[in-house]
């Protein structure tokens, strides 16, 4: 893990936003919503393992079992 993941998420966010804008301009609002949800799911799938790791670390630090 490094700073790469932040850049990756930022790039995905930018691209999804641009795609949504193009779709909205072409009167395809429904598809734009689906694309933004898909983007959210993609980012969550990338981040979920890191969040799990963070919780584990917090548990370990405070010795919560």
């Amino acid at each position: 893990m490094g700073v790469d993941i932040i850049f990756k998420i930022a790039a995905i966010g930018i691209l999804i936003t641009v795609i949504c804008q193009i779709l909205k301009k072409s009167d395809r609002d429904d598809i734009a919503t689906l694309v933004s949800i898909a983007g959210l799911v993609i980012v969550l799938s990338i981040v979920i393992s890191l969040i799990a790791e963070l919780f584990q670390t917090v548990k370990d630090i405070f010795t919560l079992y």
């Binding site: 990756k8 691209l15 641009v18 193009i22 779709l23 072409s26």
Partner: protein, 157 residues
């Protein structure tokens, strides 16, 4: 790093081509209406010189029209109904084209010229709307293709 860049360029290029090909699907309608307008102009001039036969009408049909309308001399002689079953055209559009071909050869030359002129205007209107839809869709598909390629590249690499 260079390998990744090459892969990225290839992905974006491939998806852009795919988007372009997808956008080209809308081109058929534009071609058909353009051919119909041209057919109307040719038929009108031929009728003016009373220089038209059933065989001529069929032979003058462009390939795009032959693809959707199956015309034979029986359609004119025996009055068989013409059917268009193409999913790219709406029911309304199919009916309009069917009516046009059904009425060919039924009226006398003067009324037929008027009838063709009437349909020429209708087809011109359809052509302009098909052209605008094609323009809008082709650029849209290319843009979406390129952006999806970039997105895939970012996610995969």
């Amino acid at each position: 790093m260079t390998f990744k860049t090459i892969i990225g360029i290839l992905i974006v290029f491939a998806t852009t081509i795919l988007g372009f090909k997808f956008g080209e699907k809308k081109r058929f309608k534009k071609v058909v209406y353009n051919d119909l307008v041209n057919l109307c102009i040719t038929l009108k001039s031929d009728l003016g010189y009373l220089n038209i036969t059933v065989d001529k009408i069929i032979s003058k049909m462009p390939n795009s029209l032959k693809e959707i309308v199956k015309l034979s001399p029986q359609n004119f002689i025996e009055g068989q109904k013409i059917k268009i079953l193409d999913k790219r055209f709406s029911a309304d559009e199919q009916e309009e084209i069917t009516l046009f071909f059904d009425k060919l050869g039924v009226l006398d030359s003067k009324n037929l010229i008027k009838f063709i002129e009437h349909y020429e205007v209708k087809f011109k209107n359809r052509l302009s709307s098909a052209e605008s839809v094609y323009k809008k869709n082709s650029t849209f598909c290319v843009k979406i293709g390129a952006l999806l390629g970039a997105l895939i590249f970012v996610i995969v690499i």
